[in-house]
């Protein structure tokens, strides 16, 4: 293969991997925003807690000598359960009492929650970076192209594609999904039709947090180390991805994540990695300026 072309594909593949993680986290943002119009700044922290829970569970199982894939599965499941519980609790403590408050109040509550969670994990675990075990084994059939795509990348891409498809079907075809869409469209109307809006909102937080947990364990296993502050940057990028795709739109979040991941990598690969983040945000600014509702979002109808 032409080496220029190979370089391009390498960048794109790693961009897709990164984008899949962004998308997994972005889904949480976009779902919550779709329903209660809240930018949930604590969502990045859920991802971080997912990574920590995964690390702790995997560490314990590793000591007891479980096989690698079993460890991965159990770690992911535990992270999902605990993160879902965190998401549920956070919503109940920090956002539910603010349902009828001025619009910015939940936002500040979210920022406070995010500061709290960072410091909580830092104090309870460590202020330093923790090494994260590699949970995804190297597949032999990928050995020949390992310099382009590692098996971890493949697992991440496949797993997130599966999860996102499942989510899409869930939203589209189940009763719960329909209720979620109805609540997102018009909460009052949904309540009039007998939908319990509060529990729908809880479910949204639980699902969003579970997705972030998967992202947390997968990427931590790829990166090899975590600390209490990884949630911030990842959360911000994921949030950018959600907006890029059109916030509130689920396919938008997936697409936005992929676009952002690839753009960042191409900018870093061809121009300069110093400015990769600048390009990511520049794309955001440009897209919003010319298409204010994002790639997939619908322009809000102004009612007079």
């Amino acid at each position: 293969m032409n080496s220029e072309l190979q370089y391009f594909f390498e960048l794109v593949f790693s961009g897709i991997t990164k984008g899949s993680i962004y998308a997994l986290i972005a889904l949480g943002y976009t779902m919550v925003y779709g329903i209660i119009e809240l930018i949930n700044f604590a969502h990045g922290e859920i991802y971080m807690i997912g990574a920590f829970t995964g690390l702790i569970v995997a560490g314990l199982l590793g000591i007891f000598g479980f096989p690698l894939l079993g460890v991965l599965a159990i770690a992911v499941i535990c992270a999902i359960i605990w993160c879902a519980a965190y998401g549920y609790t956070i919503e109940k403590v920090a956002y539910r009492p603010l349902r009828n408050a001025p619009r910015l109040s939940p936002l500040i509550s979210a920022i406070g929650m995010s500061i709290f969670l960072q410091n909580y994990v830092q104090l309870a675990q460590t202020s330093d970076f923790l090494p994260f075990p590699q949970l995804i084994p190297d597949f032999e059939f990928l050995d020949s192209i390992a310099y382009i795509v590692s098996s971890t990348d493949v697992v991440i891409i496949v797993l997130s594609a599966v999860v996102m498809t499942a989510l899409h079907c869930f939203i589209k075809y189940t009763n719960m999904g329909k209720a979620m869409r109805a609540t997102a469209q018009n909460r009052k109307m949904a309540m009039l039709l007998g939908i319990d809006a509060d529990s729908i909102i809880s479910v949204t937080f639980v699902i969003g947090s579970a997705l972030a947990a998967i992202g947390g364990v997968l990427i931590a296993s790829r990166m090899g180390s975590i600390d209490a502050y990884i949630g911030f940057l990842a959360g911000m990028k994921a949030f950018t991805a959600a907006v890029l795709g059109g916030i509130g739109s689920i396919p938008g979040a997936m697409f936005g994540g992929l676009v952002l991941g690839c753009c960042e990598n191409l900018a870093a690969g061809y121009i300069s990695s110093d400015y990769a983040d600048v390009f990511a945000f520049l794309i955001l600014v440009l897209i919003l300026t010319f298409r204010p509702s994002g790639i997939f979002g619908r322009a809000p109808v102004q009612k007079v």
């Binding site: 408050a101 001025p102 619009r103 675990q125 090494p131 945000f281």
Partner: protein, 414 residues
């Protein structure tokens, strides 16, 4: 009994919730694990007790609201005293006097942190113009702060220009940056605008960080000159911090005055009309473009002033001071204090800066407590410490019942 049962359940829930992170500590490479069971106990008991307090406070808040809705709550005696304009004027005068003689009473440390708090008062009031008055959510305010600080830092470092010359120039440059950002994004509304400003804030910081041939990158600019007093330079640290304290105090008072005047001016009314309903205000003949731009420009101008002050106060700046967290903190001051209310914002800024300072006794735990306080404040007082008061007009008795709803709460759904 019911309450107690709930509290116990909450305790158990939190103990389980925090179990992996609080109890287990594992080092998978060396195969070591530490179990800290006592933590689970503390959490359970703490959460159970806190939940009792939490529920009680929530109930009280709900009861208050009900009473307010029925309008059976008499204004308290305290409130009645506070309505007396004479007392208020005396109070303000005493405060002003106190602030003026403070350097004589207090140590350099207190002067310093109060000066820091005053810089944040200026910042928060500036942001209040955009967020509180005209309803444009800006999440990248630190960028304008950075523009002001770097304008002075660079001008002083390369050209040797002094503080007094750069104070207005820094403000103007920041205002220009505000207009530059404002022009393309004016069509955006609400949260989308917020995101673009967030992006802009990050871009600014990253450029400062990476353009090291000009800005000296993450190493920052050191040795920025302190302000001179005519021809005397203030070399002594204690003297110069008192001097800077007075400068910040003057600027803060000027800001309070100007923002208060602006609020009731023609453009201020236009901002508030824009905040309440963009379409209606446009229909009433408000030029939304110009109004928004003026809000942006003025708001960022104050950030520029504050930036210049901050650079001269610390004599050192680096990109670390202008992260998204900084923007979020300034925004919290505005919201915590009460959006749109000048004294609320002042109090919010003072509280957010002084709180961590006085929480120092808790050392490592102070940011944890700070985050918790932010959440609790919002839950129990979402409208802020001092919510803005709207001008009242006398309404005939037969209409009074209808006007009882809160102005903010009415904007739900579509």
């Amino acid at each position: 009994m019911q309450i107690l049962k709930k509290a116990i359940l909450t305790g158990i829930w939190f103990a389980v919730l925090t179990f992996p992170i609080m109890v287990v500590k594992v080092d998978h490479i060396e195969g070591k694990m530490v179990w800290r069971w006592e933590n689970a106990g503390y959490i359970a008991i703490g959460a159970a007790l806190l939940s009792l307090v939490w529920r009680y406070l929530l109930e009280r808040k709900a009861m208050r609201r009900r009473q307010e809705e029925l309008a059976i709550r008499e204004p308290s005696l305290w409130n009645k005293i506070l309505r007396d304009p004479k007392l208020i004027r005396t109070g303000l005068l005493i405060l002003l006097l106190l602030m003026l003689i403070l350097p004589a009473l207090s140590s350099t440390y207190h002067i310093n942190i109060i000066a820091t708090a005053l810089i944040y008062v200026v910042l928060a009031l500036g942001l209040n113009i955009a967020v509180g008055l005209s309803g444009q959510l800006v999440l990248g305010y630190a960028a304008f702060y950075a523009v002001g600080a770097y304008a002075y830092g660079l001008a002083n470092h390369y050209l040797g220009i002094g503080f007094w010359a750069m104070l207005p120039v820094g403000g103007i440059i920041a205002a220009l940056a505000g207009i530059l950002l404002g022009l393309p994004v004016l069509r955006l509304r609400g949260d989308y605008l917020a995101i673009v400003t967030l992006g802009f804030g990050e871009i600014t910081r990253l450029i400062i960080q990476n353009w090291s041939s000009l800005t000296r990158g993450p190493g920052g600019i050191s040795g920025i000159a302190k302000p001179g007093f005519f021809n005397f330079s203030m070399a002594d640290v204690a003297v110069s911090s008192v001097y800077i304290y007075y400068i910040t105090l003057a600027l803060a008072i000027l800001t309070i005055f100007v923002v208060d005047r602006l609020k009731h001016s023609r453009v201020g009314r236009a901002w508030q009309a824009l905040r309440e309903d963009e379409i209606a205000s446009e229909a009433m003949g408000v030029d939304t473009m110009r109004t928004k731009l003026s809000a942006f420009a003025l708001s960022s101008m104050w950030a520029g002033f504050a930036g210049v002050l901050m650079a001269t106060k610390t004599t050192f700046i680096n990109p670390n001071s202008f992260t998204f967290m900084e923007s979020a903190l300034i925004l919290s001051m505005v919201v915590l204090g009460g959006m749109g209310s000048i004294w609320g914002v002042v109090l919010g800024a003072v509280a957010i800066i002084l709180l961590p300072e006085y929480l120092r006794a808790f050392s490592e735990y102070r940011m944890l407590i700070f985050g918790a306080i932010m959440v609790a404040m919002m839950v129990f007082r979402p409208q802020g410490l001092i919510p803005p008061q709207f001008r009242r007009y006398e309404i005939p008795d037969y209409l009074k019942k209808k006007s009882a709803g809160t102005p903010e709460g009415a904007k739900e759904g579509n």
